[in-house]
Amino acid sequence: MRISFERTGGFANIPLRAEIDSAQLPHERAQELEKLIERARPFDQQTQSQGAPPVADDFQYDVTINDAGQTETIGTTDAAASDDLKLLFDFLGEEALQKLKQR
């Protein structure tokens, strides 16, 4: 599974962009990611509250997940995302940050 993760906005607006390949992750991290995706169901529209009032300095997410030849894209914000989706974003953000620091 390949994930393209982008997080922009927030008070600091330091863009965080990374390609995350679950095959390259340590086994435990890859399992955790799978669990988080299962729980967050990122492509189920029900997990995002439609018309959530915009929040100043909110994070904006643009994420594409490519799994077994299927590609799906999600664009949302922290304010609109469910708690499970926020936890998935935090995981991906952590991975992206590690990659950024290694640059």
């Binding site: 927030g10 008070f11 600091a12 607006n13 330091i14 929040v55 100043a56 904006q60 936890l87």
Partner: protein, 361 residues
């Protein structure tokens, strides 16, 4: 029909009229309206009117109410109550910073603009600290301020900088007054007003003149190894940081460098550099302390003029109009306002600049 009460208000006036005055009238009108509401409600024994009255009865002007919560690294807001107004210091630095910072922000708005909290009716200032884990952000969620601890490497805790707290609280003021949409140019103006008053809160607390101030936003929240002084510079947008990991501060200082993007809600934290620079230029041109004249012009513009979809060029025209009202049409102050906007490529009185630069209408 109309029974005069001692304060000269007929209690037969429908309660909603008093409510309206209580909400929107000047101080004297408000006081009378409260009395009338109270008396008429008592006389008629209407519980819901009394309730309305209790709701409208604002905290006495100048009395701040702060509540600090600990989100305990979780997602639930506000979290556990840890410090209320007047409570003794906590052993938790972030709690005390949120408490002191929101207090200084309240004092700034009250003493400089006679504004009684975010809603000008004494709204309680709620803040949550320790939100999520290693969370590199602070935000205003429509009801309260929320602060992350930072990851410790790129960012430290977001309560560390007073201008961050002033910035977040000002998002609340903007929500109640102008309701600027958080997207594209109106969103960048929303960010701009938060940076302006965030910086002024800090300058006021330090009792600085405009030319002494650093005009930085988020100074001191970067981790120790990041090459940068702050997140934004109002004095020199685009120069706050230049780091091998984070990249370079992307803010433009002129309309010719306006950034069209879908990221960051249409670049709200990027293009805010343009009006930020104009405000800095004005504050320097007028001299003295920035909150006295430049800050007052901007405050009245935000409260009296700005609309949800106001664009840069329209905002510039509004500030000029306000300067004319406050200091006289053709006054040195009004001329300085126009000159400040000209520095960033915005000519007061035309909207062509915004359109040419791709500002959506």
């Amino acid at each position: 029909m109309c029974k005069e009460l001692s304060h000269g208000i007929c209690y037969i006036i429908p309660p909603h009229v008093h409510e309206n005055i209580a909400r929107n009238g000047n101080d004297k009108q408000k006081e009378r309206a409260y009395q009338a509401l109270n008396v008429s409600a008592h006389m008629r024994g209407q519980r819901e009117i009394l309730n309305t009255f209790a709701m409208l009865a604002t905290t006495p002007t100048g009395v701040k109410r702060r509540t600090i919560y600990n989100a305990q690294n979780g997602l639930t807001l506000p979290g556990k109550l840890v410090r209320g107004e007047g409570d003794k210091k906590s052993s938790d630095t972030a709690v005390n910073e949120a408490y002191d910072g929101s207090g200084k922000t309240y004092d700034f708005y009250f003493k400089v603009f006679n504004r009684n909290s975010i809603d000008d009716r004494g709204l309680r200032l709620d803040s949550s600290v320790h939100y999520r884990r290693n969370f590199n952000n602070a935000f205003w969620n429509g009801q309260q301020m929320v602060y992350g601890d930072g990851d410790g490497q790129i960012f430290q805790r977001f309560t560390k900088s007073l201008d961050v707290i002033g910035h977040e609280l000002t998002h609340g003021v903007t929500q109640y007054e102008a309701g600027l949409v958080y997207q594209d140019q109106p969103g960048a103006l929303n960010e701009h007003f938060s940076d302006v008053f965030g910086s002024l809160v800090k300058q006021y607390a330090k009792n600085q003149k405009a030319k002494q101030a650093d005009w930085l936003i988020g100074e001191g929240i970067f981790g120790p190894n990041i090459q940068g002084v702050a997140l934004r510079s109002m004095k020199n947008p685009g120069t706050a940081y230049n780091d091998p990991v984070l990249g370079k501060d992307p803010q433009p200082a002129h309309m010719s460098k306006f950034v069209n993007t879908t990221a960051d809600f249409g670049g709200v934290h990027i293009n805010s550099g343009i009006p930020n620079k104009a405000f800095y230029e004005l504050a320097i041109a007028l001299g003295g302390s920035a909150w006295e004249k430049a800050g007052l012009i901007w405050y009245r513009t935000l409260v009296d003029k700005v609309q949800p979809n106001t664009q840069f060029a329209e905002c510039a025209a509004m500030t000029s109009e306000v300067a004319g009202t406050l200091y006289g049409v053709g006054s040195a102050e009004q001329k300085a306002v126009k000159a400040a906007w000209a520095v960033v490529g915005i000519t007061v009185g035309t909207t062509a600049v915004a359109a040419a630069a791709g500002g959506r209408r």
